[in-house]
Symmetry: C2
Subunit: 344 residues, 2 copies
């Protein structure tokens, strides 16, 4: 009989949390016991896992020495406080927040890119930012074959990037605008329905917002190329779920489109979506709910002799967050790094 | 008394046509008589110009020798048929379609960039594509100071780019989706509400769509740089009106942000919109209805020593089409190239 594990989800009621719950069931993760944790206002709420109702608990009441694996998606401050405690108690934490991503002692993993980094964990493993994961999955197979010199990326990020409440807000804004009423903005600084704006995370003094610097710094860490030249412009668009990215890549040497497509077709986590006759390429509408990153519109860059361009859409909540975390957990199981304390 | 002119609007009932009507009134263009032309199904409809009701007429019934200026916005095939006839009859045609843009005998003009090209007209002057105009206005003052080597641009194009019917379609799609109904698509190949997709104009065999190649070829012609390196990724987004563009620019030499801002502030047709503390930059919501192209988020490109990035939003129907055409007409008046046949 395979080992089973006591798994805790931190932030179980959020957009990513509920997706984690679904994915653990869907992928048949070997769960011995599932503990759901959330903010005080959600304590007592019940969520369903494999037909079984589970009550959301108060994180202060939990003894992490009874937990083998923590999937954390409750925001940076919660992770900063609780991930080290859980790790100290012997659990392995896969953290979806940005709290530990750039910590040199914490592996930052996209399973399709750097699964071996899992071996270096010291109790905490960081899940990269959504836009980083989607781009990383698409660029890695190309970079393996022909090293990347520089990337210029523009993102088209859905409301889901700001959580379930933000998705609801965009719908309500759209309703209001269609009724000629003033849209209410709470989750975002400006109306997003029928509008768009550069990503509203804090800006640094060079003019890049946190979201953009995550793409730069996290990609460098995951790819193991500390000086990778990358510039990102991150933009929120009125799409409910799934992010898209227009990526311009300069390689050290020219990379033919046919070769790039061959590499993308063979790579894990990617579905090549392009029908040039039908003008049909990845769309967030179709990426939503899919595990794979949809990649297409691969073409030689007219403006650079070593350039290639591609277009992708990927589910921000799934591969961009929850699925990647569960895949890291599966890696831990596969490498026998996750120890079941119940069995021991 | 200043000369006045007999002006015809071809495609008067469309999104750009009605804007032309408004702009001629708003800017007090010296109109002697206004003739409105549209497709057969609109003949007889009445539109208002300066409080006066004007009936839409059948183009076949018009004697263009009675017309001084034609503002054409009825699509490429209508322009191809009628613009040469109108020009042969002695009118000057400012054509908003793509029919004559790349014709070497036809000037292609953004008044802020190449007003002098108006002198070379032979009866037809072409108005560039919306995305080209918006980008051209922003890049020209920089290029004048520090020559541009290469541009990588990603667009965020509103439904208005496909006309008034498309704007209505996106609203109806949004209504349907909010009611959990299937959205109807007619103007576009895929639903655009809460979705987005690469621009659906025909693709060439290098993988660039017409909209993208317009940005390349038209910018080269307007800037007078036949080998300008430029790659565009054009994307339709669920915004009703006003396009946005994320532009990465490589100059021959580094251009400091402060200098770029100084140039942009001093340039015509541009409003610099950036408040870094408030994370406030150009948005289509605010660009709609404005004459100026909103430009901001100007920053040094982290990934290139001669790179600079900026973000813009501009009203596709106004500066991206109708306003630019009216400005060309104003140039004709100013340079005394438009002859009033009534007065003569």
């Amino acid at each position: 009989m395979p080992e089973t594990y006591r798994v805790a989800i931190m932030g179980a009621t959020g957009a990513v949390g509920t997706e984690l719950l679904d994915l653990l069931a869907e992928r048949n993760f070997p769960v011995e016991e599932l503990v759901l944790l959330a903010s005080p206002r959600s304590v007592g709420r019940e969520l369903t896992f494999k037909g079984q109702s589970i009550k959301v608990q108060d994180i202060n009441q939990i003894d992490f020495s009874d937990i083998d694996l923590v999937l954390a998606s409750a925001g940076g401050s919660v992770s900063k406080e609780w991930a080290p405690k859980a790790a100290a108690a012997g659990a392995i934490v896969v953290d979806n927040s940005s709290a530990f991503r750039m910590d040199p002692t914490v592996p930052l993993i996209v399973p399709e890119v750097n699964p071996e980094a899992v071996l270096e964990h010291k109790g905490i493993i960081a899940n990269p930012n959504c836009t980083t994961i989607l781009m990383g999955v698409a660029l890695w197979p190309l970079h393996q074959y022909q090293p990347i010199e520089r990337v210029v990326v523009s993102t088209y990020q859905s409301a889901s990037g700001a959580g379930a409440r933000a998705m609801e807000e965009v719908k309500q804004q759209a309703q209001a605008i269609l009724r000629d009423e003033k849209p209410v903005t709470e989750a975002f600084p400006y109306p997003l329905a029928f509008n768009l704006f550069p990503h509203n995370s804090p800006l640094d003094d060079r003019g890049y917002c946190q979201e953009e610097m995550k793409m730069v710094n996290e990609t460098r860490k995951i790819f193991g190329v500390s000086d990778l030249r990358l510039s990102a412009t991150c933009v929120r668009v009125p799409v409910l779920r799934a992010h898209s990215e227009a990526i311009n890549i300069e390689f050290q040497q020219p990379l033919a489109v046919a070769k790039a497509l061959e590499l993308l077709h063979a790579a894990p986590g990617i579905k090549v979506v392009e029908d040039w006759d039908a003008n049909y390429f990845p769309m967030p509408m179709e990426a939503s709910g899919q595990d794979d990153v949809l990649v297409g519109r691969v073409r030689t860059d007219l403006s650079h002799k070593c350039g290639l361009e591609l277009w992708l859409s990927g589910d921000q909540i799934r591969k961009g967050a929850a699925l990647n975390a569960v895949q890291i957990a599966e890696l831990l199981v596969k490498k026998q790094l996750l120890k079941s304390k119940t069995v021991a």
